[in-house]
Symmetry: C2
Subunit: 166 residues, 2 copies
């Protein structure tokens, strides 16, 4: 219906993967750790930052989510005592910081989760496959990353261009 056969077949497979895989991971984390895959991702991202903290807008980029979503998620994680909000020294910035309790939880959940990732992904693929997967997804992402990554200058330019043209 506007894709050739080769593309159509690839598309069906890709579709199935990105429907089934997140569902599988979400479901396992939910059952065995009481958190969503997204929440896990946020906490894992925080754990790798100096001071285990990050400003929400940056967290949004790292976790591939909207600012609104991040705000909600951080609220939930705060309720669990795994994360705490720390208003940044300057301006309206808000930082999310992983608490000790959160860090402990993460250390506990990590192995469980990654065992599942290994089972579902890396055990199934050869090292070759992994290399290809990395290469191809990396290409796809380049086209998917929103204009955020044009850098401040390009963004500013683009913004005024839009303004002028309206």
């Amino acid at each position: 219906m506007w894709l050739n056969n080769r593309e159509w077949s690839a598309w069906l497979h890709l579709l199935a993967t990105f429907t089934l895989l997140p569902a599988a991971l979400d479901s396992q984390l939910q059952r065995e750790a009481g958190m969503s895959h997204f929440e896990f991702g946020v906490m894992a991202a925080l754990s790798r930052q100096p001071g285990r903290r990050l400003q929400l807008k940056d967290l949004a980029v790292v976790a591939n989510g909207s600012l609104s979503r991040l705000s909600h998620v951080v609220s939930r994680l705060e309720r669990q005592g795994w994360v705490r909000r720390v208003s940044g020294a300057r301006g309206r910035a808000t930082n999310a910081e992983l608490t000790d309790k959160g860090y402990k939880k993460l250390m506990e959940v990590g192995p469980i989760h990654f065992a599942e990732v290994r089972r579902l992904v890396f055990d199934v693929l050869t090292p070759e496959d992994v290399k290809e997967l990395r290469r191809v997804t990396s290409r796809l992402n380049a086209g998917l990353i929103p204009e955020t990554n044009l850098g401040p200058l390009a963004r500013r330019t683009r913004a005024s261009a839009l303004r002028r043209s309206s």
Copy 2:
């Protein structure tokens, strides 16, 4: 944290792809056609069936969704007049059938949607990439497809085995 470097990098990219890509497609379809990507998938699947109808349980497999989700979605699509429920000749089976209105809508939306798919996916990749993508996702799916696909015999056997062992 339990993945080696190569795997970790691949994992981050894969994660970003299957977060960003569905989000992008969903958002475009929602804006320009007032339907979700999943709904589109369901209607597209129906359109390829003889009589443009399919039993819900089969639709669930084709669309990679739970039966419950399908039931809800079909209700929504029914409200739009794009799909109608037809109780199967035999038994408790329920079929979903694409209406003419639904077909028309689909024909209208299809090109718009696939243009976006092309833009985000196939324009970015070489034919080589597409081949690899198909190959790797197909492998992943093999491990992801739930036990549904063991086939009726294996399923029955497995079921009684479980029963006996409890």
